[in-house]
């Protein structure tokens, strides 16, 4: 019973094996990819392991506090920012091994030529609630 975040990057992850930009795929390949993602989420719902899945717009804004009584400062987007998160899936699984297995399956989503993208996904454990028994 542990939650993991499967993080998908626009930028910042090592290059995928089948690394063709999505706009160079055929429309059918795009549809097949989208369908694969939907089926994957539905399957995890079926196994009782799905928690959440969201996609993010590629462009965002950096914001920071600028002192009492002043509006926050905004900046960006920065083209040079190394990491750009594209979206995530949150899963609730029995073991780290199961999380790795699922991440591997998600990374097999089809891309150009209908072949798996072999995309690198980042797997991050959630911090949990503290246990009751401590000694």
């Amino acid at each position: 019973m542990a939650k993991y975040l499967l993080l998908k990057h626009y930028r910042g992850a090592p290059a995928a094996i089948n690394d063709v930009p999505m706009d160079r795929w055929t429309p059918e390949e795009v549809s097949a990819h989208v369908q694969y993602m939907r089926d994957f989420a539905a399957r995890l719902e079926g196994t009782g392991e799905f928690v959440d899945s969201q996609a993010l717009a590629p462009e965002g804004t950096f914001v920071r506090f600028d002192g009492e009584g002043r509006p926050p400062v905004t900046d960006g987007p920065f083209a040079e920012t190394k990491d750009l998160v594209a979206g995530w899936m949150v899963i609730d699984v029995d073991s780290y091994e199961r999380a790795v297995e699922l991440a591997g399956e998600l990374s097999a989503a089809p891309g150009a030529g209908g072949k798996p993208i072999h995309e690198w996904l980042e797997l991050r454990p959630f911090l949990t609630a503290p246990p009751t028994v401590t000694e």
Binding site: E45, G48, D94, T128, V133, E135
Partner: protein, 379 residues
């Protein structure tokens, strides 16, 4: 209406349906439907015999559900030999339900979910909220679990250790939400102890009561963790401690030691000390030796190193620690503590910071970060 009373009746009702020949999954659904009905009807019209009412309504729900499908013929057979109460007692029924819900073919999370619903009588929504997953996910987890155990024969007890592990998980790994999982685990373990006379069941119940007794003292008003040595012991629940100790003593007297009794004994020794300084550490070390013998768990040896550090000084604790694998969870935290006690604040601060980076939960991380910060600030 007393929801706890209502929920305490569910395993018995479920067992009656299964005894009458309903398959487990369908029976469990029917009981849930009956519970929902009870919550609706009882406030205005409380029944004289709550359990009888639930059995009747759940049985009708079960018959309704099976009416339309291919099980019709089977249902008619069932109706004919309907009230065939088996020779088994209510306690036996409850017991078999515990075993079924903790069946070894289930993953830990499935066993936990099924136990909370079928034995605990919680709704799917409550369980989903308690474990921070969507209700649809939890519903699927439970129905898969029911399918997994649907072929298991409901007539003989299994290994009690599997049930205890599930109850321990409910107690130890809950989030703090609307459903108090620790209290729920105690309730379920208490009922198991009433149905099954077994020293390890008693040991687990004692362990839970002794740890639950410290609950109010374990977190500060800002939510931060308060370590055992710094807890305000006047806030410990003395009634819960007394009950836990009595249950443990009766279990230990039977001379069939197990890991939960040994863990409870350690908790009891802490509970027994009026101040942290008066803790009987040598005896705690002995119990850790027993526990290491019983479980062969590296985590136990890690905790033992802490106890050795208190009993024989931090150098002895560090020596005990040196024999262990430094990739163990919380190894750095233990090392930091022992170095701090040994007066090596620089090393301790560095290790606390490292431990904070590796902490598996936020409260622990914050606690360890504060320790590092305090040492770095020279306080």
């Amino acid at each position: 209406m007393d929801e706890v009373l209502l929920r305490s009746l569910t395993p018995g009702v479920l067992a009656v349906l299964v005894r009458r020949g309903a398959d487990f999954a369908a029976a469990e659904d029917a009981v849930q439907d009956a519970l929902v009905e009870a919550l609706r009807v009882w406030p205005a019209d409380p029944p004289r015999d709550p359990k009888g009412w639930l059995v009747t309504v759940a049985w009708l729900k079960f018959l309704d559900a099976t009416r339309a499908d291919a099980a019709r013929r089977r249902r008619e057979d069932l109706v004919e030999d309907e009230p065939a109460p088996g020779p088994a007692s209510a306690a036996d029924d409850t017991l078999q339900l515990y075993f079924l819900c903790a069946h070894p073919s289930l993953t830990p999370s499935s066993a936990v979910a099924l136990t909370l619903r079928a034995v605990g009588g919680l709704t799917t929504r409550q369980i989903a909220q308690a474990y921070l997953v969507p209700e649809a996910t939890m519903a699927q987890r439970i129905s898969r679990a029911k399918r997994t155990v649907s072929g298991v024969r409901f007539d003989r007890p299994g290994d009690v250790a599997t049930v205890l592990r599930v109850l321990y998980l409910v107690f130890n790994e809950g989030y703090s939400g609307d459903v108090d999982l620790a209290a729920e685990a105690i309730r379920l373990t208490r009922r198991l102890a009433a149905a099954l006379d077994h020293p390890e069941v008693a040991g687990l119940l004692g362990l839970m009561l002794l740890h639950h007794a410290r609950r109010a003292a374990r977190t500060a008003s800002d939510g931060s963790l308060v370590p055992l040595a710094e807890q305000d012991r006047t806030r410990w629940d003395t009634r819960s401690i007394a009950e836990g100790v009595a249950i443990l003593q009766a279990a230990l007297a039977r001379d069939r030691l197990g890991e939960f009794q040994a863990q409870a004994a350690i908790a009891a020794l802490h509970a027994d000390a009026p101040t942290a300084g008066e803790t009987d550490w040598p005896q705690i070390v002995e119990w850790y030796d027993e526990l290491a013998r019983l479980t062969d768990s590296p985590v136990v040896r890690l905790n033992r190193a802490v106890a050795v550090g208190e009993a024989d000084g931090p150098r002895a604790g560090l020596a005990a620690l040196a024999a262990l694998d430094d990739s163990l969870p919380r190894y750095a935290a233990v090392a930091a503590y022992l170095h701090e006690r040994d007066g090596d604040t620089a090393t301790a601060a560095r290790l606390y910071a490292e431990a904070a980076r590796k902490a598996p939960n936020l409260a622990e991380r914050d606690h360890l970060t504060r320790r590092a910060a305090r040492l770095n600030a020279g306080r």
